[in-house]
């Protein structure tokens, strides 16, 4: 049994294809990591980013604030559990780390209609002058909690709890259907 084949399955069933259309596309982001960083009351983002750059420069410092003193550190590289242990060990003591790579699912909604589609779900005003590239918001899309990050002018990344991913995927597809 020691060599039983192990597969890391995504939250989406294998047959789910990325929807593509003229003004909208929805695609899962596969692989990568999502790490929840929890600082104590005195922690600050600059110190965190500095620390991350030192410990794991190869993973980038895409750090998205989810709450006071809490961030999601997101990247496209795969991080082994050993590497994670190293990172954990290297973090300054005011930060704790919880791996959420498996607990959170990333998907990307892109295209000129992406803002219109998201407005069917979230109250957050995503107009470009208020919600710039790189900005994130923890919010609700319909009944489902999600973190929205603007990646490009017309592209948003959503991070959702794994158990809700299928529902959010379906919901976004419904909301986007009129633009296909």
């Amino acid at each position: 049994m020691r060599d039983y084949p192990l597969e890391n399955r995504g939250a989406f069933p294998p047959h789910v294809a990325a929807g593509a259309g003229a003004s909208i596309s929805l695609a899962p982001v596969k692989g990568g990591f999502v790490i929840h960083l929890l600082g104590d009351a005195k922690s600050d983002e600059a110190a965190l980013k500095k620390a991350l750059a030192k410990i794991a420069p190869e993973l980038g410092a895409d750090v998205r604030k989810s709450a006071p003193n809490q961030w999601f550190w997101v990247g496209d590289a795969d991080v082994s559990s050993d590497r994670l242990t190293e990172i954990q060990a290297g973090l300054p003591s005011q930060f704790a780390l919880a791996d959420q790579t498996h607990g959170r699912v990333r998907m990307r909604l892109s295209g000129p209609s992406s803002r219109t589609v998201l407005a069917k779900g979230t109250m957050v005003d995503l107009s470009a002058d208020l919600f710039a590239i790189g900005q994130s918001a923890m919010t609700q899309i319909g009944h489902i909690g999600a973190m929205i990050t603007r990646i490009e002018d017309d592209s948003f990344e959503l991070i959702v709890l794994r158990s809700f991913a299928g529902s959010l995927w379906d919901e976004l597809n419904h909301m986007a259907a009129e633009f296909r």
Binding site: M1, R2, D3, Y4, P5, L6, E7, N8, R9, G10, A11, P13, H36, L38, G39, D40, A41, N69, Q70, S81, A96, A98, D99, Q100, T101, H102, G103, R104, A119, K120, T122, M123, D125, S127, G142, H143, I144, L161, R162, S163, F164, G166, S167, L168, D170, E171, H174, M175, A177, E178, R180
Partner: protein
């Protein structure tokens, strides 16, 4: 059938002929028509019957206030009852039917009610139908209910798609008449984000039906220019067919957009919404909703052919429909004279203009005979108006033959949205109407709703309102102006209030739809229901689907007149959402059917499915409940087998849905010690502990285990049901009660696929995939730590805990690997006869073991009630619930407490929810001893067993009781016993 279609009509497209049916008859209209305009064009004046007396009714208005012309449109799942014909756009193939009439609208048996008029006065039903008492439900009520009601709703599901959206703007302009357009232009040019919403198909409001040139240009050309500019402004969002129906706190407005309601079925895009709910968040609002023209209360004022004067003008100019061949007008104001002029321009005879004012101050130069100082006191005609009786100022009556009468009793500003947040409208003698409240924070009324009249004045006012709103936003603006229009001094029309034309013969209606006559209002006053709210409730005035848009002010006027006070002293009833009715479909959006709530799926969902699981809804989750094998036809077959297999061999169960919380921080241990009622301060690394969490009121909130994984790192599990609740509670404790503690919480429920491996062979199974030593010595009961798996290829967290009472483990692995690991466990367990098991088996085994769940932790039990009183720390000086847990009522020895219960005769069965009685005592609530909280068939023992909360239960083991299920009509003799039916000494746990 005579056609009333004449030339002109700014809204219709004569090249687009549309066929529709009305009560089965095939008719035609044009693109741009409403159902009402096309019915009128086809000479259909009689379109419905009234609520109580079944009187013939025609089309009164050309807009949202329509009280009479309510039709059922469409069929099956697309049937819309009570649709205002004045708002429904005509499409090819539309089917419309009259309501509230039988056998048909032309001959309606119910009209016999009219003869009983005096018996059916206001509130008659409160005074009779009381004898005999039992007759109400059996006889009277069914008759009344059958007679009442308007359209018939479909029982078929609606195939349409609906959705909800948020929208944001700096300025929301509600209404796109001249005032609203000016406001939108002004703000749009200033560069702020504008949303302009209008319920109509076209922007324009009063401009659409304006027959006269504006600033030397035709009104429709002026309108086209404005619309063109608005479209060109990228910061202006135009929402047509969008009714802003309510104003809520913080400048949130509800609006509904009729996206595809105007399309024939074949043209509906199934991926687009039929209707779309907008929640509009606005920083400032310009209210340009206009004013509603009021009817006048006189005898026979409800006869088909009687129409609002302004509506006549709209049908004439916007739809090219003549209201009749020989028309009279009855108006107490000057705006109605425009209708007369427009009628005459189109060659329609205006027989007379009856104006109650003795010297109307107007510059009318038309051909119609002007009868000043006079009133219309009655009308004649059966199903359509044939003549009117005019009372002259000298008391003389004159009958004038007409086939249509236009009425205008003044204008009621449409103040609804300004009042939804509690504002009270203010009476104005000058305007003879209720004006918007004086303090409408963040909302600026303008145009007709602010008492302005005429295109030019309204447009100018809209610009001024927008400049004011812009200033609030900190932006300079310049009021838009109409080209070629010279702003003249504003003139206020002198309107003479006419609430009720006295000495009439026929019934004079105030509320057309609810058949409330002037005499009903005076009767209500006579009987003491003279407060405006009581009068409304007693007579039902204003309670119909139009919510009194055309009737409320007249009713108030009549009350005021009879009391000899100003209408302002009477006041209005409360303006409440919605301005016009809103469908459930729009308010629900896509959250219907299976999408009512989102689904949560465990990372082992696919694995369970492949193993044949039956799933059950558990909160938002789907959990595997049992795993039938071939030949098992009944769920109990599977569950009995699963239980037996786990008790004798081994099983695997998905417990990923349990709440999981990672707890970090220097004070994590102290924190846990305060949130659990039992001690946690000294929990060593590598150990799990069962904990009970109380609420501050001393009752049990939730239970679960918490493990210490490292110095400042703990891992808590909660029940599935309270996963979110517990996290929220912990956050309250951490952030509000003890923010000085360093404790940080992360929900990790979704990160881990967690499975229970239970049964005497569980260690052997796990040993095959776990690299570490998990012998009883190395990994004893309540051990908890990270382990290496599959030759170091995976790390998991292993807990030696047991809900089943067997030797058992829970192993958590990163969710993505869950299915592989479960498959591996199944493969490893094959030689031992492993079975997957579900929540049903989990339930049976925990009852056999006497473990509690939320069936017992029902929010009203203490730890002592559950037999865990000793867990409540007497040493800790503080934890949540400590003090309230000591109250007299919570330590009362008579409290129901946990016991086991079994039938005296092993073949007897009983149900959860049965109550426990003492043998020989009366069956009564006073003798109630408790109830069965959980029960199951125990395959291990071969009979039914249960848990119960019974008064003083733990002291009564061995006692015989009655298990009483009155609902099922059964009583069973039961015996109270130790709740641990299996392995009460916990030998298996420690094996």
């Amino acid at each position: 059938m005579t056609s009333f279609r004449i030339d002109g009509g700014t809204l219709i497209d004569r090249n687009d002929v549309r066929r529709f049916t009305f009560n089965g008859e095939v008719l035609t209209g044009f693109g741009g028509d409403t159902v009402a305009s096309s019915l009128l064009a086809n000479g259909k004046q009689l379109v419905g019957r009234s609520f109580k007396y079944h009187r013939p009714r025609g089309i009164l208005t050309a807009g949202a206030a329509e009280p009479n012309a309510l039709l059922t449109i469409g069929r099956d799942g697309r049937r819309d009852p009570n649709t205002r014909a004045t708002m429904a756009e005509l499409f090819d193939g539309l089917e419309a039917r009259s309501q509230n009439c039988w056998p048909n609208v032309n001959f309606d048996i119910g009209a016999a009610n009219g003869l009983l008029g005096p018996l059916l006065g206001a509130g008659f039903y409160y005074k009779t139908f009381m004898w005999p008492a039992a007759f109400w439900e059996k006889v009277y009520e069914p008759l009344i209910r059958k007679a009442a009601g308007l359209g018939r709703a479909s029982y078929d599901p609606d195939p349409g798609y609906y959705e909800k959206c948020w929208a944001h703007c700096d300025l929301l302009v509600i209404g796109a008449g001249p005032a609203g357009l000016a406001a939108a232009l002004t703000a749009g040019r200033a560069g702020v984000r504008v949303i302009i919403a209008d319920e109509g198909v076209q922007l324009g409001g009063g401009l659409i039906a304006e027959g006269s040139p504006v600033g030397g240009k035709p009104a429709d050309a002026v309108l086209a220019d404005i619309i063109g500019e608005l479209h060109a402004l990228s910061n202006v969002e135009i929402k047509k067919r969008t009714t802003v129906f309510a104003a809520y706190d913080d400048q949130v407005f509800g609006a509904v957009e009729r996206v595809q309601k105007h399309l024939p079925e074949g043209e509906i895009n199934p991926h687009r919404a039929m209707e779309r709910l907008w929640r509009i968040v606005a920083r400032q609002v310009v209210l340009a909703t206009g004013a509603e023209e009021r009817p006048i209360v006189f005898g026979g004022n409800d006869r088909p052919g009687v129409m609002m004067a302004g509506a006549m003008r709209t049908y004439l100019n916007a739809y090219g429909v003549a209201p009749g061949k020989r028309v009279a007008l009855f108006a107490n104001n000057s705006q109605a004279y425009q209708t007369a002029l427009d009628l005459e321009v189109r060659g329609i005879e205006v027989a007379a203009i009856i104006d109650p004012r003795t010297c109307p101050n107007i510059d009318y130069d038309g051909k119609a005979r002007l009868i000043a100082g006079a009133m219309v006191r009655d009308t004649a005609g059966r199903k359509a108006i044939k003549s009117i009786t005019v009372r002259h100022d000298d008391g003389r009556d004159e009958v004038i033959a007409v086939d249509a009468l236009g009425v205008s009793g003044g204008y009621s500003p449409i103040v609804h949205l300004a009042c939804h947040r509690g504002g009270k409208p203010v009476w104005s003698d000058a305007h003879v109407g209720f004006m918007p409240p004086e303090n409408t924070d963040g909302m600026t009324p303008c145009g007709a709703v602010a008492g302005k009249a005429g295109i030019a004045d309204c447009f100018a006012d809209g610009g001024v309102a927008a400049v004011k709103a812009l200033a609030e936003l900190g932006v300079m603006g310049e009021a838009a102006s109409l080209p070629g229009v010279e702003q003249t001094a504003e003139t206020v029309d002198h309107i003479q209030p006419v609430w009720h034309v006295a000495s009439t013969k026929g019934k004079a209606f105030v509320d057309f739809q609810n058949d409330v006559a002037a005499s009903d209002i005076t009767l209500a006053m006579r009987e003491g229901y003279d407060h405006v709210e009581l009068a409304k409730r007693y007579t039902t005035n204003g309670m119909a689907t139009d919510q009194g848009k055309t009737s409320n002010v007249n009713a108030i006027g009549i009350l005021a007149e009879n009391k000899g006070v100003s209408p302002g002293e009477i006041g209005t009833t409360t303006f409440r959402p919605f301005y016009t009715p809103v469908s459930f479909g729009a308010l629900v959006g896509a959250s219907k059917g299976m999408d009512f709530q989102p689904v949560r799926k465990s990372p082992l969902h696919g694995w369970a499915g492949r193993n044949g699981a039956k799933f059950v809804e558990t909160g938002l989750w789907y959990r595997s409940s049992w795993f039938p094998k071939d030949g098992e036809t009944f769920w109990r077959d599977s569950v009995d087998r699963e239980v037996n297999t786990v008790r004798t061999k081994v099983g695997i169960c998905d417990v990923s849905t349990l709440g999981k919380i990672e707890i970090f921080g220097a004070d994590a241990a102290e924190f846990l010690n305060r949130v659990y009622c039992n001690a946690f301060l000294k929990l060593p690394v590598g150990k799990a502990r069962y904990g009970i969490m109380l609420r501050e009121d001393g009752f049990v909130y939730d239970d679960g285990t918490t493990s210490c994984l490292g110095g400042n790192h703990y891992f808590m599990t909660t029940t599935t049901a309270l996963a979110a609740g517990v996290l929220t509670h912990l956050e309250f404790c951490a952030q509000v009660l003890w923010p000085e503690l360093d404790v940080r919480l992360a929900s990790a429920t979704d990160q881990w696929a967690q499975m229970a491996i239970a049964g005497p062979r569980s260690r052997e199974v796990l040993s095959k995939i776990i690299d570490d030593d998990i012998s009883n010595e190395a990994f004893p009961f309540l051990a908890a730590r990270e382990v290496s798996m599959f030759g170091g290829r995976l790390k998991g967290r292993l807990f030696r805990i047991s809900f089943s009472g067997e030797l058992a483990y829970e192993i958590a692995v990163p969710a993505g690997y869950g299915e592989s690991v479960a498959d591996a466990v199944m493969a490893a367990g094959e030689e031992f006869g492993i079975t997957p098991y579900g929540t049903e088996t989990l339930g049976v085994m925990r009852i056999e073991k006497g473990h509690v769940t939320h069936a017992e932790i029902n929010g009203t039990v203490t730890p002592a009630d559950l037999g865990m009183g000793r867990m409540v720390s007497a040493k800790k000086d503080d934890f949540i619930g400590r003090v309230m847990n000591l109250r007299e009522g919570l330590v009362d020895p008579d409290r129901p407490a946990l016991v086991g219960i079994k039938p005296k005769s092993p073949s007897d069965k009983f149900a959860t929810g049965s109550h426990i009685l003492n043998p020989g005592e009366d069956v009564s609530l006073a003798n109630d001893q408790g109830y069965v909280t959980s029960m199951c068939h125990s395959p291990t023992l071969g009979h039914a067993i249960g848990l119960a909360l019974v008064k003083n239960g733990p002291k009564r083991h061995g006692e015989e009781v009655v298990i009483w299920n009155g609902l099922a009509g059964t009583t069973v003799t039961g015996i109270l016993c130790n709740p641990a039916f299996v392995d009460p000494e916990n030998e298996k746990l420690h094996a």
